[in-house]
């Protein structure tokens, strides 16, 4: 019973944080793009004349989307048409369950893992759920009974399947180095210091895998350098026939996936909740200094560290989204199959060889 309460509280916390961050993304996207392009950005929504730098646009948008007419095109499969956005959002949200956002918190006798679901193959779970997300996309295209939407859905499917392979293989190297698929264990393994100075984060041990992972993961989120499935500005995407909050849910999925990718990248390559030189009882600096504190503060530092890393990743993703133009479709496919895929395989093989000859370093 107690464990149920704890899990519900954890799940609620993650849910709240993630959805709010996704809502916040709409504001960040507007303002960041505005600053990059020497503009001001949306600043007109106000409550009692109080504008708060346009933050209320994040509230005004859902209100508008909820009150808009929801149109299901004639001849469309009504069930699937309604189901598709829910699929999209659900699989993006359920991914967060497996992400460890902090180390163990000890309250009295009880040890709480700061992770909603402690799955021992959490990595596989995350990638399975990310792959299932493509169903929302292809159902949306299929159920709309619109040829353009189907084409958009097929484009999305082809792109996501191509990049999933590179994505999956790129992390094999990480799994081999740390020898676990349990994300909490994987993060714990990254706390080791090479020579006492450099933290053994994924970015240090697997830099090539990181670049491949980042590229493929950006393609998974379907945002700008790889936004051929939707391409609001020119091409017609899979959600042409969606309006109101159903469309809003697809938009939300984009932001959620960005956050998922930021979380996974943080966990795999930037040491999750690790802070350099921080051990469960406090800081131990290699030059001999020590700062000790209680366990709850340690757990809090871990959560803060994880959140800051995720936010930085979100910021960098947003910056990339507003820097790069869109790939052509053939460039996209050749980058996925001729570029990332061989690099990921070569990286895996190289990692395996290095581990065989210089193993036991982990």
């Amino acid at each position: 019973m107690e464990i149920l309460v704890i899990k519900v509280v954890l799940a609620g916390m993650v849910f709240l944080a993630v959805l709010n961050l996704a809502g916040f993304h709409t504001w960040v996207e507007r303002k960041q793009s505005a600053l990059i392009q020497d503009r001001i950005g949306a600043n007109r929504a106000s409550i009692f004349g109080f504008k708060a730098l346009g933050l209320f646009h994040g509230i005004a948008d859902p209100i508008k989307l909820f009150t808009k007419e929801d149109i299901v095109p004639a001849g469309a499969d009504k069930t699937l048409h309604t189901l598709a956005p829910f699929f999209s959002v659900f699989f993006a949200l359920v991914t967060f369950a497996a992400i460890p956002f902090g180390d163990q918190l000890i309250i009295g006798e009880r040890v709480i893992n700061l992770q909603v679901a402690s799955i021992n193959a959490a990595l596989l779970f995350i990638f399975a759920m990310l792959s299932l997300g493509v169903y929302g996309v292809i159902l949306a295209g299929f159920a709309s009974r619109n040829n353009y939407a189907i084409m958009g859905g097929l484009r999305a499917t082809a792109q996501m399947i191509s990049y999933e392979i590179a994505l999956g293989i790129s992390i094999v190297g990480v799994i081999m180095v740390y020898g676990t698929m349990d994300l909490a264990e994987l993060v714990r393994a990254q706390g080791y210091m090479i020579g006492g100075w450099v933290p053994m984060w994924g970015i240090v041990t697997q830099p090539v895998a990181f670049i491949v992972f980042l590229t493929a993961a950006l393609a998974e989120t379907k945002r700008v350098p790889f936004d051929l499935p939707e391409a609001e500005s020119e091409i017609i995407g899979y959600f042409v026939e969606y309006s109101g909050m159903k469309f809003g849910m697809f938009l939300l999925t984009d932001f959620l996936e960005t956050i998922v990718v930021a979380c996974v990248a943080t966990t795999l390559f930037f040491g999750g909740w690790q802070v350099p030189f921080l051990l469960p009882d406090g800081f131990h600096f290699p030059w001999g200094g020590e700062v000790l504190f209680a366990n709850w503060f340690y757990a809090l530092l871990g959560v803060a560290s994880f959140s800051i890393k995720v936010l930085i990743f979100c910021f960098v993703f947003m910056q990339i989204r507003w820097t790069l133009p869109r790939f052509r479709y053939d460039q996209l496919m050749s980058l996925g199959w001729k570029g990332l895929f061989p690099i990921a395989v070569a990286n895996t093989v190289l990692t395996a060889i290095v581990l065989v000859f210089f193993g036991e370093s982990t």
Partner: protein, 206 residues
């Protein structure tokens, strides 16, 4: 028959990997981002106001400076006694390529002035803003220097400016107490016939 060979630039190895180009692109966007962020924050504290953080002109509150020769909404210039300079020569109505000007002249009580307009309408929904009427006017009676750009209206009728609106650019339709019928007999502005030149204006037979 000169043949021009266009050589497509071959991408180098590093360009094919995209990475250096992406980094140089990110450098540009990051430099803009942090420069503008810094300037916005400095402006909040009233510093560095001579450096603009954004190119945005917040339109309804902040108007863009117009060139002195910009052709905006028309106006009719007036004499010192508030009567229009227009002498009803019909040159502007004749030259207007869009035929948006309608003038009905009448005989002026002053024998030195031949005619004056009892009706001077410009249909802005038809006007092409060529400025010919300004150029052709011998009396400098028509000008396009009001700087008014927001000419939107809810009906075609409201786009037609009559002599009141042309003589006083601050007036906009609907004018209270003005039927806008011809001949004009309205008395807006507290009994003072706006744009009138004398109370006993001779009315032409309609």
């Amino acid at each position: 028959m000169a043949i021009k060979v266009v050589r497509r630039p071959e991408l180098t190895f590093w360009e094919k990997t995209y990475l250096p180009q992406i980094l140089s692109g990110l450098k540009i966007t990051f430099s803009h981002f942090f420069r503008n962020l810094f300037l916005h924050i400095a402006h909040v504290f009233g510093r560095l106001l001579h450096l603009r953080a954004s190119a945005t002109i917040q339109y309804p509150e902040e108007l863009r400076p117009l060139m002195s020769r910009y052709r905006s909404r028309h106006r009719l210039t007036v004499r010192e006694d508030n009567s229009p300079r227009c002498v009803g020569c019909m040159l502007c109505e004749t030259v207007c390529p869009a035929k948006c000007i309608t003038i009905v002249p009448a005989e002026h009580p002053d024998p030195k002035v031949e005619k004056f307009p009892v009706r001077f309408d410009i249909d802005l929904g038809v006007c092409v803003y060529c400025g010919y009427c300004v150029e052709v006017c011998p009396e400098d009676a028509v000008r396009m220097d009001t700087g008014i750009l927001d000419l939107a209206a809810y009906s075609r009728e409201a786009m037609r400016l009559d002599i009141h609106e042309l003589m006083d650019p601050s007036l906009r339709k609907p004018l209270t107490g003005c039927s806008l019928d011809f001949p004009h007999q309205c008395e807006p502005m507290g009994g003072q016939m706006k744009g009138s030149w004398s109370a006993d204006t001779p009315k032409p037979e309609s």
